[in-house]
């Protein structure tokens, strides 16, 4: 994994804000994700309003904001699960325009959903091998080897031959993460990965995501887990009413929010 290799170098020498500088000079190419003037309507409802967001290679973004503010819509536009109405999305140098560019982008981007969305008619192992075998043409043996590697990474190799329904929520979400990793993406999107979990399972999933973040994976995580954000985020993005209202490092964001809306929001969620 070139990304992990790069990140190791980066991590040993630098931390914090210096990282993005290094990334740009070392990769000497475009950003991981560039979103410019993005607009999205659901019929007459304006769900995203002129959103601009640039994510450097190796950068970890946490997106938060009130319910209905467009967080899901934004990250679902990145891999074209939602089509946008205007604006530009460029992922790892590929500009999203036609079906083949979307296919190329999806090949670079993994996604983890709030509801896991595992395939219930398959075993855990089959869930993990389906993509590599059918979309990437790997042999069964290679695909299973890869699947076991990532199951070990999310620490449930012993569940490989079980049915999805035999696993707890936390285990299912870790399988879902491993399923994405099996496609060896450069970028990972997480849409409230712990919101559907019982409280005692949240940390096992967050640990996996933190581990991934530390390995240098570029990621956008929509979450209300502020402890996680402090631990793993390079940059916070606060959305409200379909627009990005504020962005900044976790320190700036939590300790000195610039906007009133953001302050109110933080007060609300940190109270619980």
């Amino acid at each position: 994994m070139p990304v992990a290799g790069l990140a190791t170098v980066v991590r040993t020498i630098h931390s914090g804000k210096a990282r993005s500088m290094i990334d740009q000079s070392e990769t000497n190419r475009t950003n991981a994700i560039e979103i410019k003037g993005l607009n999205k309507w659901y019929d007459t409802y304006h769900a995203l309003k002129d959103v601009d967001l640039t994510v450097a290679h190796g950068e970890r973004i946490v997106v938060c904001g009130p319910s209905g503010s467009g967080k899901s819509t934004l990250i679902r536009c990145v891999n074209s699960l939602e089509a946008h109405d205007s604006g530009q999305i460029t992922v790892d140098g590929t500009r999203m325009c036609d079906a083949s560019s979307i296919e190329a982008i999806r090949g670079q981007v993994g996604m983890v959903f709030q509801q896991f969305n595992l395939f219930p008619h398959l075993t855990i192992l089959q869930n993990l091998t389906l993509g590599p075998m059918k979309a990437r043409g790997l042999s069964r043996k290679d695909a299973e080897e890869r699947a076991m590697k990532y199951l070990e990474r999310v620490q449930i190799p012993e569940q490989a031959n079980k049915k999805v329904s035999a696993l707890s929520g936390g285990q299912q979400q870790r399988v879902a993460i491993a399923r994405s990793l099996c496609m060896e993406p450069k970028i990972m999107l997480f849409d409230e990965p712990t919101s559907a979990l019982d409280p005692e399972m949240i940390s096992e999933v967050l640990d996996v995501i933190v581990d991934l973040a530390e390995s240098g994976m570029t990621m956008i995580v929509v979450t209300h887990e502020m402890g996680f954000a402090r631990r793993a985020a390079d940059r916070m993005v606060f959305m409200d009413h379909g627009a990005i209202v504020e962005t900044g490092t976790p320190e700036e964001f939590f300790d000195a929010p610039k906007t009133e809306r953001c302050r109110t929001f933080l007060n609300q969620i940190l109270k619980h």
């Binding site: 008619h121 389906l130 993509g131 979309a135």
Partner: protein, 252 residues
């Protein structure tokens, strides 16, 4: 089974009560002519079953081909499917049968294709087409019952539309599709009786022919109804079994 027995004893009793009006001899297996008549009637089973099975298989394939584009997010891809379903559902079976049997060869000939459509294939085509509108709707509701998250997850791991259908959606949808599809087969079996009017030698046609020579409509048509009843009961027994099996699978 209880139903058959009840009906049998009822007709038998009625027969005893007013012996003069009844002529069960036409289908009395103890006499040579009665036995001949019975075998003549029963020989229709083969054609009825063959007709129904082939029509059902074609209807299942056509139905799927209509249903899949019918679920597209693009309205122009969706449109032909909607038109097909609405149009085909609106045509009564008998007129369609006449049109296919007498009209279609003419249409094809004008297009330079010369084919003779015999009674069997005329009936198969008609049954398959008219049933496919219903199977398409069964597929549609079955597939749409599979949560959108499943197709989205499949997209994110790079599967194409066809792969998503084949490996993710259809294997799950099949549990909700098969029972109503098997149920639909009962309609095909019953509708296959219409094939008699274009001369197809199935159960109903044979009963009609026997009535013409024997003048015993009551007894012969009673047996005819019992023939269909047995056929349908066997199928619905199978459907019941399938529903139980699918239901049990789901909870596992």
């Amino acid at each position: 089974m209880k139903n058959i027995l009840a009906l049998l004893s009822l007709t038998a009793l009625a027969g005893c009560g007013s012996a003069g009006n009844w002529g069960w001899y036409v289908i009395d297996p103890r006499t040579q002519s009665g036995w001949n008549n019975i075998t003549f009637l029963f020989d229709g089973f083969g054609a009825t079953i063959q007709l129904s099975v082939i029509a059902a298989v074609i209807s299942m394939i056509v139905g799927l081909m209509v249903a899949l584009p019918g679920m597209s997010t693009n309205r122009w891809i969706r449109l032909p499917s909607r038109i097909y379903v609405e149009f085909v559902r609106a045509i009564p079976l008998l007129p369609m049968l006449f049109w296919v049997f007498y009209g279609l060869p003419v249409v094809l000939k004008s297009m330079g294709i010369t084919v003779r459509i015999d009674a069997f294939w005329g009936a198969v085509i008609t049954l398959a087409i008219s049933d496919s509108a219903f199977t398409a709707e069964i597929y549609r509701s079955g597939i749409q019952s599979i949560a959108r998250g499943q197709t989205e997850a499949a997209k994110t791991i790079g599967l194409t539309y066809t792969q998503t259908m084949r490996y993710v959606v259809l294997p799950q949808a099949i549990r909700r599709i098969l029972p109503p599809l098997a149920n639909q087969f009962i309609y095909i079996v019953k509708m296959s009786a219409f094939a008699s009017v274009i001369g197809m030698q199935e159960l109903t046609r044979r009963a009609n022919e026997l009535v013409v020579t024997e003048y015993r409509p009551l007894e012969i048509y009673t047996l005819l109804i019992l023939e269909y009843l047995v056929l349908v009961l066997i199928i619905s027994f199978f459907v019941r079994w399938l529903e139980r099996k699918m239901g049990a699978d789901e909870s596992r």
